[in-house]
């Protein structure tokens, strides 16, 4: 069972990881400050496998890859939003996080219980008893995602 952590429109990468923490030695150190301007409890209360949900333009702003990395560090594997900013979208795929663009983001509330079935391409909101289908990512991007990210994909190819 995964819990939804719901955020609003235009969650920029400064909200995901504020600038002043980018010089900390490790991603683990930075992760303690994830989303702190939006929800100070986030990094402590987020459970591995919970799901981040945003609305319009999730991940806009800076190209900092520390943003998907701190989310990944806390156990984010799926982000659902109405749409994503392009650099962040690409950074997610490159780090093995699945960004799902779907209008259902509007119908998910904070702390709803969700189930995402990758094989079926299905999002189930168990709190409200609703099911939605999403278009699975295919081709080259799916290969990167399945390898766990671009670096692993390249390393695998090198053998």
């Amino acid at each position: 069972m995964a819990v939804a952590w719901k955020f609003g429109d235009n969650i920029d990468t400064d909200q995901i990881i504020p600038s002043q923490y980018l010089v900390l030695p490790t991603i683990k150190d930075m992760a303690a400050h994830t989303m702190e301007t939006q929800n100070p409890a986030f990094s402590k209360a987020f459970k591995d496998g919970d799901i981040v949900v945003g609305e319009v333009n999730f991940g806009c702003g800076s190209s900092r890859e520390q943003a998907p990395l701190v989310l990944k560090e806390l156990g984010v594997r799926v982000i659902i939003a109405l749409d994503f900013a392009r650099i962040f979208f690409r950074n997610c795929i490159n780090n093995g996080i699945l960004p799902i663009e779907h209008p259902c983001a509007k119908e998910i509330s904070d702390k709803d219980e969700l189930l995402v079935d990758f094989a079926k391409g299905e999002i189930v909101n168990q709190t409200h008893n609703k099911t939605w289908q999403f278009n699975k990512i295919e081709g080259y991007l799916a290969d990167i995602l399945n390898a766990g990210g671009l670096a692993a994909y390249i390393a695998n190819k090198k053998g």
Binding site: D9, S19, V23, S62, L150
Partner: protein, 428 residues
């Protein structure tokens, strides 16, 4: 339509050239060779780690095409930032990278002055890399994993973007600037309106704008989500590079790019420069744009003139001209940060710096400074800043309870004098 460009837009044409293809179409994913790549102190070390630890690659493919710029925290302001810069210096030495700048200015201004050229394909681990379309290059911001893959191979994949063409007509009125054009466009299309798209600026209006003005608009395109930008290069671009003593004379490229100007594109949007007025982006979103007249008089605590958006000599001249023989408002902190050392030296030569100092401003060494928020001029809870920078996100310049207003250099300086959001004519 020329046979050379096959009905492609300028952006598609340049991508096709780098993909070794006669033609590419929007939506296609193509593999491209990269002419130049750039990273800074916010992104270099992570890229280094990914290349070595995860991609098992230990040398960049061509050190002469890799540019590394320290600009976000200059000079280092903590033990951690100093360690980051120390490790960057070690990395460039190990790799034999000559293009390393530790105190020369904001990365995009340094790229403009020293490296970029029309027709090039350039990627950078900084979102404002989209600025270089202003001189006819295709450029875009990427993350560290993508950059690590480029360092390892000199190549990357790109999805060919659809082009949205903005047809500019008329001319800017007094006290209306390129920044106001940028804010107007972002307001029109919203913060995600150009996501995955190339923004092309065209029409007679673009010809009336200088290269630095075009750069300001292209720089802000990412705030509408754009992947890249394009202004078909003209005589103004040739003259601009002549002045930099870095000539870019390539008649066949310029002719081909010009031939693309009537190509079909995703959509066209008209912008009438004559009718624009000074604009302000209010907290905490860049598309929360209002006419200055609606919020004139709001009390402010800090003003900032600088950044890759508006830290060029033209911006400093505009500010100094308004500020001459005046003082900044009591209890207001006014920071001025030239975008590069070359801008700084020019400002010294033109005797602009004493005008800022005499007025009570703090003049900083070139760098990202207050615009990126973790360095210089941090805001306390409840404080308000008006800035020529490019982002007003919550907490971007300090406390999450502070507020940031984005405006043109003239509005920022007028507001610094009055201590409240002001129209430049109020201080003349």
């Amino acid at each position: 339509m020329s046979n050379n460009t096959n009905g492609m837009t300028a952006t598609e044409y340049i991508i096709a050239q780098h993909a070794n293809r006669d033609r590419v179409r929007p939506g296609e994913i193509v593999n491209v060779s990269v002419d130049l790549c750039m990273s800074n102190d916010a992104t270099t070390l992570l890229t280094d780690k990914i290349m070595k630890e995860q991609m098992k690659t230990h040398k960049v493919w061509d050190p002469s095409k890799v540019i590394i710029i320290v600009d976000h925290q200059v000079p280092a302001d903590s033990v951690d930032t100093s360690r980051v810069q120390q490790q960057m210096a070690q990395f460039v030495d190990d790799q034999g990278i000559e293009n390393f700048h530790t105190a020369d200015g904001v990365c995009h201004q340094v790229m403009l002055e020293k490296y970029i050229y029309p027709g090039a394909l350039i990627l950078g681990a900084d979102s404002h890399t989209c600025s270089y379309g202003s001189i006819g290059a295709v450029s875009s911001g990427i993350g560290s994993t993508d950059l690590a893959a480029i360092w390892a191979s000199g190549e990357t994949w790109l999805k060919v973007p659809e082009t949205v063409r903005f047809i500019l007509s008329g001319r800017l009125q007094p006290d209306v600037t390129a920044k106001d054009v940028a804010l107007h466009i972002i307001n029109l299309v919203r913060a995600n309106g150009l996501t995955y798209k190339a923004m092309e600026l065209a029409g007679s209006g673009i010809k009336s704008l200088t290269v630095p003005q075009r750069f300001t608009i292209c720089n802000m395109a990412v705030e509408a989500g754009a992947k890249s930008t394009m202004v078909i290069p003209d005589q103004a671009v040739i003259d601009f590079f002549e002045k930099l003593e870095r000539p870019v004379n390539n008649p066949s490229l310029f002719k081909n790019l010009e031939d693309t100007q009537n190509s079909s594109c995703h959509s066209e949007i008209q912008v009438d420069l004559n009718s624009l007025t000074p604009q302000i982006a209010c907290p905490h979103y860049v598309d929360n744009v209002r006419p200055l007249s609606e919020i004139q008089g709001l009390k402010i605590d800090q003003a900032f003139l600088g950044s890759c958006t508006n830290g060029r000599i033209e911006d400093l001249r505009e500010g100094a001209q308004l500020l001459k023989d005046k003082k900044v408002a009591r209890n207001l902190r006014f920071l001025v940060t030239p975008a590069s050392v070359s801008v700084y030296k020019q400002a010294l030569e033109e005797k602009l710096i004493p005008i800022f100092l005499d007025a009570g401003a703090i003049v900083n060494h070139p760098g990202c400074s207050t615009c990126w928020g973790a360095h210089q001029g941090i805001l306390a809870s409840g404080q308000k800043m008006v800035t020529t920078g490019n982002r007003n996100f919550k907490g971007r310049a300090g406390s999450p309870e502070s507020e940031i207003y984005l405006a043109s250099p003239a509005v920022v300086v007028a507001s610094a004098i009055k201590g409240e959001l002001s129209h430049p004519r109020e201080v003349r």
